[in-house]
Symmetry: C2
Subunit: 437 residues, 2 copies
């Protein structure tokens, strides 16, 4: 019994203030969406202006831009600019222990994933005259009753504003979300996985990429694995995923070399033995968390999007895409319900929670699957079966990866469909195995 009110409130949006907390990827995109609708937008970011900051290498996992993210950018006219700054990746490259490299395309020809650099991100928000970016503003407190917010500036002074809508885009450890936790009946979970990650840089050779660019390089080694992603400066960022207790077993430079000699011998000359010994210990292994919650809104004044609503582990390459699609879905509901926040916010929770939970589960599933039995052979075999099936029955069997990455099929519907397909696939895999394939 939805009230699709015909009262068009768009004419009043110009007087309304939307406070976007968090000036990262999702926050900046959201600012564009609200500015385009004519709202007064204030973006508050606790860090200094990150556009001025020195380029920080690494932390590049989870910045793969695919169909959902691009659709969200397109809607506010930002797709082309952003895409031109990404590195297109059309295939994975599996490195086996003996040095063999086998490419596995992501999808059909033309289906590419774009790898973004963290700082090549949409700060186009400022092109809207109704939008103000406030950096170095730390959220002190806010009221979901009145929309009153207080921020602390870097110089110690306070800024107070009155928001009609507060959009929490402040990441996996969201300050906005903390107030949700104090409300009754807010479901929340944060789950750290036993693996940590560590980043290493592979420099260019004679000014060129040390390995083939346009590939996500993967070294699957059962309980751990390494991946390498190209950067615009022709370096690769190598990310080693390994259980924390195995990280603790490697404590000296010599042990690092021994470890790489055993599992990733082809990378030692490319990273350089000395750099490897040094950089391995530059930072401790970093933790990865999966966050789920529900509802996403608090009264008619506050809503969570992006990592603040659903941090995912980085094993499906959908973190940024899911966050961008949040903005797009919210925008669609704003159209349907004429920008009436009291109707839009509950509807957004109803529609979006099952999809975000599904992608969080899928990313975790991929993690568990990889941990238990991913090595090169298994990886190649599974892809072979998927692709063969899709070739035989292109309309019936769409690989889950394709649905997630190259369509806007709702995440939870992709999962539902996949459960059915998986049954079919298992039957075929088993009969193939019995035939001695």
């Amino acid at each position: 019994t939805m009230d699709y009110s015909t009262n068009d409130s768009k004419s009043t949006s110009k007087n309304k203030v939307v406070a976007v907390v968090g000036g990262g990827l999702v926050g900046a995109l959201n600012a564009c969406y609200f500015a385009k609708r004519g709202f007064q937008v204030e973006v508050f970011e606790s860090r200094e202006d990150i556009r001025q900051a020195k380029i920080v290498k690494g932390r590049s996992i989870n910045l793969a831009l695919s169909h959902r993210g691009r659709q969200a950018l397109k809607q506010v006219g930002m797709e082309d600019t952003i895409v031109s700054k990404g590195i297109p990746m059309h295939s994975r490259m599996i490195h086996s222990l003996n040095g063999t490299q086998s490419p596995i395309p992501y999808g059909k020809k033309g289906q590419v994933t774009l790898l973004m650099q963290r700082l090549d991100t949409p700060h186009s928000a400022e092109t809207y005259s109704t939008t103000k970016l406030n950096f170095a503003h730390k959220l002190l407190n806010w009221s979901t009753e009145t929309g009153a917010m207080t921020f602390l500036r870097a110089d110690g002074t306070k800024e107070e504003i009155q928001a009609d809508l507060i959009v929490g885009c402040d990441g996996a450890f969201s300050a906005i979300r903390k107030q949700f936790l104090r409300q009754s009946r807010f479901n929340f979970s944060q789950t750290y996985i036993p693996h940590g990650y560590l980043e290493l840089t592979m420099p260019p050779i004679n000014g060129e990429f040390a390995m083939k660019p346009n590939y996500l390089h993967i070294w699957p080694r059962n309980t751990f694995m390494m991946i390498a992603l190209p950067n615009l400066d022709k370096t690769f960022t190598c990310t080693l995923f390994m259980p924390f207790d195995e990280f603790e077993n490697v404590t000296t430079g010599d042990q690092v070399i021994e470890f790489f000699q055993k599992y990733f011998p082809d990378t030692i000359p490319l990273i350089g033995a000395d750099a490897l010994k040094r950089d391995y210990f530059r930072l401790p292994a970093q933790a990865m968390v999966s966050v789920k919650c529900s509802p996403y809104h608090l009264s008619d004044k506050c809503v969570l999007m992006g990592d603040a609503a659903h941090a995912v582990v980085p094993f499906y390459g959908q973190g940024m895409n899911a966050g961008f699609e949040d903005c797009l879905v919210f925008n669609e509901i704003m159209d349907q319900l004429n920008e009436d926040f009291s109707a839009v916010l509950p509807e957004y929770t109803r529609v979006r929670v099952p999809d975000d939970h599904a992608i969080a589960d899928l990313a975790m599933y991929n993690y568990v699957e990889m941990r238990s039995h991913v090595n090169s052979k298994w990886f190649l075999f599974r892809k072979y079966v998927d692709n063969t099936l899709h070739m035989i029955m292109p309309r019936t069997v769409i690989p889950l990866y394709t649905m997630v990455t190259f369509t806007r099929t709702r995440y939870h519907e992709a999962v539902k469909r996949w459960h059915w397909q998986d049954k079919v696939r298992n039957d075929i895999v088993h009969s193939s195995l019995y035939k001695g394939l």
Copy 2:
């Protein structure tokens, strides 16, 4: 590679201060355990002295005392006193829609569950000269580095203490646990169920219980149900469990009567129509939450027990027992590891987390099971199968309920064993059904 140090540190325990935060059931029992070992114990409770408070009726769900809880009380010599103040319950009494009542014993003869009144609880802590109870002390802040704690007294003054160990027994919304959330790699979830509960009082008739005491009365009605538990003053507390949205459909006194006429007709004369119309709206339906987390300790200075570590939904009657068993298990590990907190705390996490998670899951499983298909017939049939199996194979098939309620089989082992038994049972149930039983 556990270090079972032989260095007996018990002689130094007298100089060490244990701060127990929360003076409820688990906090008070913990105080006794630490006092018995010779520690200086300070209990801090934010409320006024609850022993002086007027007896508050209701909120009696989850106060069933069974084997685990009794064993924990026994260890500090409190079992007999406590048991004498409980109401023994040896059976459930299932009320079908047509008024028929069918008893289902909890276990074998002599296996009883004791129903406690909230205030008949172990404040025997004060009998130890080394223990101080501090009521109306609100925790302001504390440091896991130094053990320094600051409390706010009712008169506005502050109290500072230095603790060697902080024991967080401050319930499902634990203040102590909040500091854990700020640490890296702390897993946490809180899940509210779609059902709420509402309590009604059934008065005595001519100075006697209105229904048979010594029974847990149950009215199972598929998506909702009511239970009634006896109190020492010869009243019953009736608790109605129902989805929140169904609560919202009943808004007038007449609708209450209509609802009870349809589903619980036998209770209307016993509660009284006027009381029913009035009391139904006295308080809004209350929420129920399941909380899980891990680890339970922070450095060698802080540990969580009871609801602070694992709030469970009240559908297995183990909330209090699990909390009491926490104290007992911690005590056993204190013996094994000579009170060395730096070894005891991680070991406690290692041992206890899987068991507490198992009982939280079991309680949730019972909720889901009840919600989906509990009516009188199904309830009776399932018990029939369980008991029949146990009669035929008493050593092989121990009903899960018996393992959980009348033994100290570790919760997670009980679940493991049950999964195996359940397979056997399903086979038998199905073959019985096919035979037209």
